[in-house]
């Protein structure tokens, strides 16, 4: 069986196993009463803390050290951060590239995902369209490079050059993947192509959960056009899905850009024109083994993504509704 209908989305919490005789110390009582719950959570939590939570703490600590994997880490204060922002031009460039990339592709991808989901929701045959838009997000950036290298090939037979020259937009073949003006835009284009992923499905599913009575009420209140309906009814009632979508998009934009950059422009990319924060992190951590410095890069990336996530949390909060 597939689905359970329940009265509402809130958790209906079952009462806990019988309270146990003679309470002893606080901890023992806690374990006796809720031990089963903790036991279920334990395996996840072990891995969660070992490979996610503690590493974030360690990364923060390492960012204040000099550490080359051979000697023990040596505390050097803010020096890594000073170096990053004052001396390391390539890092500053990588931040600029990453922000440019993420701040455009992120919102565009979210909007496109929502609009596509909204349009698909208006028609009856949905599955095949959903598949067509979602399938690109299932592909590996590395594998798809085979296509993009042909499309954006620098000679006159690359599909892009061929097309633009036929149409008379350009006279000479253009070096899409080598010219520093187009490298990043090409990567963004590829990212958009493969970004209609889980968010698109989240929105598609979310649209089907919007309370239909709201639409009826809207008609009574004089909402006539479907676009008005979308703006005044659908969007506000999908805030929780939006929040989930924004958080996913942030993570995706800051990590997937690196892979596409790696597969299309290489590491390092010509003139660092497609250098991402993650490219810089990878370079220092696993090629030069300057772990302290790389940790500082990681911490800055963490602050950026976490900051945007928190901002989204504020903006799309449904607590007071």
């Amino acid at each position: 069986m597939a689905e359970v209908k329940s009265s509402g989305p809130g958790a209906e919490v079952t009462t806990q196993p019988r309270a146990v005789a003679e309470p002893k110390t606080g901890l023992q009582r806690l374990l006796a009463q809720y031990g089963v719950s903790y036991a279920f959570l334990l395996p996840y939590m072990i891995f969660f803390f070992a490979f996610l939570i503690i590493p974030v703490g360690v990364a923060i600590w390492l960012s204040f050290t000099y550490f080359n994997m051979l000697e023990a880490p040596r505390i050097i204060g803010w020096s890594n951060y000073r170096l990053l922002f004052l001396e390391d031009d390539i890092f500053v460039l990588s931040i600029r590239n990453t922000l440019f990339f993420a701040l455009i592709t992120g919102p565009v991808s979210l909007t496109a995902s929502f609009l596509l989901a909204w349009f698909i929701n208006q028609i009856r045959v949905r599955t095949i369209y959903a598949l067509a838009f979602y399938a690109p997000s299932l592909t590996s950036a590395i594998a798809m490079a085979v296509v993009w290298r042909i499309v954006f090939s620098g000679d006159r037979y690359g599909y892009m050059n061929y097309f633009l020259m036929r149409m008379g937009f350009i006279q000479e073949p253009f070096l899409w993947l080598i010219d520093q003006r187009t490298m990043l835009p090409v990567i963004m284009f590829v990212m958009l192509w493969m970004s209609m992923g889980n968010n698109f499905l989240v929105f598609l599913a979310g649209l089907q959960t919007v309370n239909t009575e709201l639409y009826e009420a809207g008609k009574v209140d004089g909402i006539a056009h479907p676009l008005q309906e979308m703006w005044y009814i659908t969007l506000p009632s999908m805030k929780p899905q939006m929040l989930f979508g924004v958080i996913n998009a942030v993570v995706l934009m800051f990590s997937a850009g690196f892979e596409i950059s790696l597969s299309l422009a290489g590491l390092p990319s010509p003139l660092y024109a497609a250098h991402m924060i993650l490219s810089h992190l990878y370079d220092y951590a696993f090629i030069r083994f300057e772990m302290g410095y790389a940790a500082a890069i990681a911490v800055i990336l963490f602050i950026i993504t976490f900051g945007i996530g928190q901002g989204a949390l504020r903006l799309l909060s449904t607590k007071d509704e």
Binding site: E12, Y44, L52, F302, I308
Partner: protein, 286 residues
Amino acid sequence: MIIRVGKFKITSGEFTTIAALTILAAFMSLPLIFVVSHALKPIDELFLFPPRFIVRNPTLRNFQDLLIATYSLNVPFIRYIFNSVFVAFCTVLGGVLLASLGAYPLAKHNFPGRHAIFIVVIAALMFTPQVTAIPRYLVVYQLGIIDTYFALVLPNLAIPYALFLMKQFMEQIPAALIESAKIDGATEWTVFWRVVMPLVTPAWATLVIIIFVGTWNDIWAPLVFTRTESMRTLPIALQTLISQGSVARQGAYAAATFIMITPPVVLFTLVQRRVIATMAHSGIKA
């Protein structure tokens, strides 16, 4: 205006929407169609200029080449496939199990710390996984499992995204169902396996596909945690084929791309409806 096609009636608005979506869907599918067509091209068509989009004389020769000849890859290509399949299988199994076990008490029990734990999980949704790459590397290094399958599986088992989706979905299960099972004498363990898990099939089907795709396409873990060629996975082998980029390998490269891209798409097609059912509960109310 109403348009009639045989038995079907559609409004002109709907017709426009369908037409626009069809064009866009077709356009977005082009790269994937190209991958399939490219993999089936005989050598002379691979090097045709201008490149031909659709293959004229399809052949399986490229696959034969890829699987039999090893080119300058140091291990047979089938080893990369095995590594990828094995690592994805273990990660999916462990990831779904951990997420389901952890989600059950979060969704259905009331215990001290429940809310706090959930807040931490939501916060962890915002972590870019690579942020923890260095300490993770140190943990893996200290455990002495660099360059083993453990290094490719263990660090990726706790997935906040998976726990979150599973918890949201499990909240839909009526408390009465669980209660009545308990009255019949079932332990929490039996309730979990006999009542809860069968009811959340869509959710775990979704997690299977999400975790599979994530692991299958992941380039970071094999890049960082493996040293020897025999432990590398498919994306790394592809990256190697790309960087060698010579004429003789174009066919094998096209075939490898096809092998890389097909399994996630096929798997998703199989569970599409369940994935959408799961995503309906994915909103964060905060």
